[in-house]
């Protein structure tokens, strides 16, 4: 191979390599991105989607529960894209904060974020930062830092946390979960029909389609 040819091979190889890296980075951003699936979806606190949608998906979840994080990572975005965005379903996140004090604080914090219209961003932040249970991952100080990271009004947020402004909302949800007989997280109700665990997307699809067919 002549020197000129070798140089040519290097340039072509290098360009292909850079293009492939760019493609990979783009793919990671797509699958991990900052809640891109929420763009344009009506939000009201922990409620997502068209209020008139025929199917209601309720999730009872604890921010410290690993399987809830798994559902968030693997299934939630797809459910939102395929059912909530087109207006076929609405999704409601409800608190079943039972793992310990940090579960309650995290839920309170998410509701404080909801006061600023940032519930979903905050819930993503929480699930992405899970680490052990009641070991400081969701200490009040850390939660305040999350709010700062998300560029929320920290004055409002800190006051909300310090005065337990949203504790009652979290308690109400948790009591409702107990009343409904929820024993584990995540527990889902698809138009009232229970679905337990971080199941694969297909299971949700089947449950939702059967409701849509009614």
């Amino acid at each position: 191979m002549t020197k000129a040819k070798r140089k040519q091979a290097v340039v072509i190889g290098g360009l292909c390599a850079v293009a492939l890296a760019a493609l990979l980075i783009f793919a990671v951003q797509q699958s991990g991105g900052q809640q891109k699936e929420l763009a344009g979806v009506p939000q009201q606190g922990a409620r997502l989607g068209n209020p008139d949608a025929p199917v209601l998906i309720e999730e009872f979840s604890d921010f410290q529960c690993p399987f809830c994080a798994r559902f968030f990572r693997e299934t939630e975005a797809r459910l939102i894209q395929e059912y909530v965005n087109p207006g076929k379903a609405r999704f409601v996140y409800r608190h079943f904060a039972f793992i310990g004090p940090e579960s309650v604080w995290a839920s309170q914090a998410a509701e404080c974020a909801a006061n600023q219209g940032l519930f979903w961003e905050f819930h993503a932040k929480l699930f992405n930062n899970q680490a052990g249970e009641n070991q400081g991952a969701f200490s009040v100080d850390r939660l305040k830092r999350f709010a700062q990271d998300l560029r929320m009004s920290t004055d409002l947020f800190n006051r909300c946390m310090d005065t337990n402004e949203t504790l009652e909302r979290v308690r109400k949800d948790t009591e409702e979960a107990q009343r409904l007989g929820v024993r584990s997280t995540p527990t889902f109700f698809i138009n009232g029909a229970p679905l337990l665990g971080a199941l694969p997307f297909e299971e949700f699809k089947a449950a939702i389609e059967s409701q849509l067919a009614k």
Binding site: G14, P66, R73
Partner: protein, 160 residues
């Protein structure tokens, strides 16, 4: 003045050493990414040497690309890199001709992709996830050094 043959032999000798380094680092990379991939599929806590952060990183939404765990992509790269390293060591001379002629530029291209991608992932740990995982950083270091080695190999290949 050194004869053509002597020169080739000298090149072959230091190429051999560079490829040996590739083999060693690839083995480290295979170990780390195999561990992380195993962990991704079969659960269990990641032993996080030197302080937390591993779970935050492993469980972040950025830990997989279109359903494929990033760790598995890494395993694929280090596995291929290992094969390249072994082939490079087997190659009799620095030869720029023949079957192995494109080994070096291919290896350079592959390592460039891997290095760029792993720098991006390190940047994500720093700025988005705000947690570091020792295993991921080890892998990023391996990818960076392998890239440097591939540049050295490429340099020699271009000048040979």
């Amino acid at each position: 003045m050194a004869s053509q043959q002597e020169q080739e032999r000298a090149y072959a000798h230091s190429d051999h050493r560079l490829w040996s380094a590739v083999v060693v680092l690839s083995l480290v990379g295979v170990g780390v990414t195999a561990y992380l991939s195993y962990n991704h599929y079969f659960g269990g806590e990641v032993a996080c040497l030197g302080g937390g952060g591993c779970e935050a990183v492993q469980q972040s939404r950025y830990s997989s690309v279109l359903g494929v765990p990033v760790a598995l992509l890494g395993l694929g790269y280090y596995g291929a890199s290992l094969v390249f390293g072994i082939l490079g060591r087997l190659r009799p001379t620095a030869g720029t001709y023949g079957t192995y002629g494109l080994l070096t530029p291919l290896y350079f291209a592959m390592s460039l992709t891997a290095a760029l991608f792993s720098w991006y992932l390190t940047m994500l740990q720093a700025s988005v996830i705000r947690a570091y995982c020792v295993w991921c950083l080890t892998s990023a270091a391996c990818a960076s050094i392998l890239f440097a080695l591939s540049i050295a190999l490429l340099w020699r290949w271009l000048r040979a």
